[in-house]
Symmetry: C2
Subunit: 493 residues, 2 copies
């Protein structure tokens, strides 16, 4: 007979495989499934969720965890046990009836949110929002009765990065970004905007494929499709990218493609021998986002990248034979603070949208903001951070579907950008990134990220991983420096 | 609290949903997955199989079956209980270690089969074949210790159609088809063969889509893709068709597409309110095949169909503006008995390939044929039934991958054709099929099949379903009449 540790890992890997199966079903639903397939797919996902939850929370899992803890484990094995225990301890205390009520309420809330958004009718959605909050608070209290439910919700996405550290980072971002954006607006400078279109979808598809080719995407372990909200899905053996094509803006496809390519590099850089095991799984959503943001912003939105990629771009996108590197570089980096919608925001204002949501979410969960106060608080913060106020709740508090499932899930997007800048800084101590990008030599950059981030999987908690990879704790410093330097130059401030 | 019956159905529907999830993963593997994804997909399928097996064979399932049997059930509920009990009784007695050994041996055997086939080296594959046979016999003996293991294997695919009835049907087919094929060969008649190609894939794809449009495929609940071995996958909400494109033969794509469309009509005709429930699942592989063969042969290969479809065909396939209905009708119905390969066989000789496999399979499982005698027995039967002998085992006993998983799984293909002819006969008592097909009015035909076959799901055992749908038990008569009349006319016999 093998050890309890081995039995536990076998069990967890089955659990991990069921999660990957669910994700493939989700990918298919977004990318391939005919519309009529929804009822069947819901049943399949629900059965999978029930099966994986059962496997994880079974008494046998608890018994094996306890036994494995008494065995002689090396550092990697101890890390695996830590991660398995964490998953178990977040799932086991929650009654299955509550899990089901959350799933049902969330599912019921989605069409209500859609209707409320379409009709600009927040009151219609408010009772769902309140019930979901109450259910999520109840869940959090089962998991950790002695701490703020919001902190527990936060730990769902970032188990080992303290919320207070993240909130300090966010404060620094507000202090730096709000005045920087004001200076950009005050400058009156308009960056180049040479694209009108329409640009045929086939051309944009070829361009996206060319971008993936250039960056070194491994087509034997991936594919490119389209989705209304692009995402990446898969594992170290099969990490699929989606993108979208907007008729008038070929840069949107390029940025989506490169962003999702970044996510894919993380997945493809994980250890193959540890598939479905914590050592072969990505660390967290924030670290995942650091990889997408690194490739999107610190590679794709740089001048050296366009020195390399311009010819490929104009080869696929007709009518721009005379396009200059600076034009496309400017067009790719325009700041437009009057935008109200997070998913359409530029590289700077985006983070104020995120910080607003994080503050509103915490206030609502902790009872400082009542449900009927949400629209007003939202608008006040928009005014404070971005100087614009939406005319409708459709463009305000109702814009994101995330409220139908989670209340502390937004921070990862901004942590991703902050960590991307920190990694970029560390990377530049070792490599001449600009020269490599200018030559289209991306392999050394991918390999550096694999060496410093990907191959660790969940070997380290997030805070330790950041120190292992960059030599210091998470800090806003590098993102603020990068953003200030880049946009001061672009806008001649 | 609900009844034991309700709890049992809920449990079975979760099991059913896990099966559909597995099939989606399989569809993706064949159609979408990049090559590198194999190791991860194997892990996912194995975890799903383990989860669904666990759900089905759990003590709780047995307890609920016993309790439900004492409840007051209506006819439909009794049918559900019968089917659930059957699944349980086929899975529960088999030790999990044996299930795993079968899965592993089957998986190990596949690359060996591939190599043996490539190198025409039967001896290399023989030990795997023997081990697989022994393991499958062991499994069958766990399920039904008192009957021939071969019968148990047969019942895996057709639970309620007696093997002796099927073997009688097969004897009648041999008696009718062998002389008919000999007369065709002796006639010296060569049917038209006007296609050479190459025909571009895009044209063939458009042709296949046009065929599906014409037949009334519901694109909101399906899609068309390509696969090396076309298949249909899905449920009443999402039944996907695959086809293939051969450069020199556009009729191959048409027949594959119509065949898989037939499978899809069955799936799409099942009750939506009984998804993942036996009442909303197809009866058996033989009945499924009757639907694909009905549409392929009794619609697609008829003269009225080509009177309707010829213009659409020549619109998509260049270079045949002067094609006559009779030419394409003949080309679609050519008989070529010198072919050695089942999957490339024509409408008549195909069944002799199947009957050969059924006889060889039974003899091998029951110990009448030793493993090293298989190649010789194979060749003798080829000589007897088709008058040709393969030069190599590659084109003989090694041609099918099915031996790596099952030994009694071939009959369904021929039962499908026999039942298709029987259904066609019954249908023609109610509808003027030729006139409808000639007008491209397929809806009444689809609806008849839904009414008489699809909507019953597993309400009746196969033998009863055949009587409900056609008024009599399975008989070779209609297929023999249909084939004799059609090919005597075509070959002027």
């Amino acid at each position: 007979m093998g050890s309890a540790y081995e039995a536990l890992v076998d069990r967890f890997e089955r659990y991990g495989n069921l999660m990957y199966a669910s994700r493939l079903l989700y990918w298919d639903q977004q990318v391939m499934m005919p519309e009529g397939g929804t009822p069947a797919r819901s049943g399949q996902l629900s059965a999978l969720s029930s099966a994986s939850h059962g496997l994880l929370t079974d008494d046998e899992t608890g018994r094996l965890i306890d036994e494995a803890a008494d065995e002689d484990l090396d550092d990697e094995q101890a890390a695996v046990l830590r991660e398995v225990r964490r998953e178990y301890e977040r799932a086991e205390p929650v009654p299955e009836s509550l899990v089901e009520r959350i799933a049902e309420t969330s599912s019921d809330a989605q069409p209500e949110w859609r209707r409320a958004k379409a009709e600009d009718d927040f009151d219609r959605f408010a009772p769902y929002l309140e019930e979901l909050r109450d259910l999520q608070v109840e869940r959090a209290e089962h998991i950790a009765p002695d701490q703020s439910p919001y902190v527990t919700m936060w730990e769902d996405s970032e188990p080992s990065l303290s919320l207070s550290l993240v909130e300090d980072v966010f404060d620094e971002l507000v202090d730096a970004l709000v005045p920087l954006i004001e200076r950009i607006e005050a400058s009156g400078v308009e960056l180049a905007d040479p694209f009108e279109g329409p640009y045929p979808e086939a051309d944009q598809r070829a361009l996206s494929e060319a971008a993936l080719d250039a960056l070194g995407y491994d087509w034997d372990r991936g594919r490119l499709d389209t989705a209304p909200h692009p995402f990446m899905s898969g594992s170290q053996f099969d990490a699929r990218v989606t993108t979208r094509f907007r008729e008038g803006d070929p840069l949107d496809a390029v940025s989506s493609t490169i962003h999702e390519f970044g996510h894919a590099t993380y997945q493809l850089g994980l250890r193959e021998d540890k598939y479905a095991n914590p050592l072969g799984m990505p660390r967290s959503s924030g670290v995942h986002e650091s990889q997408s943001r690194f490739w999107e912003n610190h590679v794709g939105r740089t001048r050296p990248f366009w020195e390399f990629f311009l010819d490929t771009f104009t080869e696929h996108i007709d009518g721009h034979d005379d396009l200059a590197v600076d034009e496309v570089y400017e067009a790719f980096n325009r700041i437009y603070p009057d935008n109200l919608i997070r998913v359409e925001a530029d590289e700077l204002t985006y983070h104020l949208h995120i910080i607003l949501r994080s503050e509103v979410g915490r206030g609502f969960v902790e009872g400082d903001i009542a449900v009927d106060e949400l629209p007003q608080v939202w608008n006040e913060k928009m005014e404070e951070y971005l100087g614009v106020v939406p005319d409708t709740d459709t463009d305000g508090v109702l814009q994101d579907i995330h409220w139908t499932s989670r209340f502390a899930a937004f921070q990862g997007y901004t942590i991703g950008s902050v960590l991307a800048a920190q990694l970029d800084h560390a990377l530049r101590q070792d490599l001449d990134v600009d020269a490599l990008v200018r030559e289209g030599e991306f392999a050394p950059i991918r390999e550096w990220m694999t060496e410093h981030v990907h191959r660790h999987g969940q070997r380290y908690p997030t805070d330790e991983l950041i120190e292992v990879a960059t030599g210091e704790p998470l800090t806003a410093e590098y993102f603020v420096d990068y953003a200030t330097e880049k946009f001061e130059a672009l806008y001649g401030l």
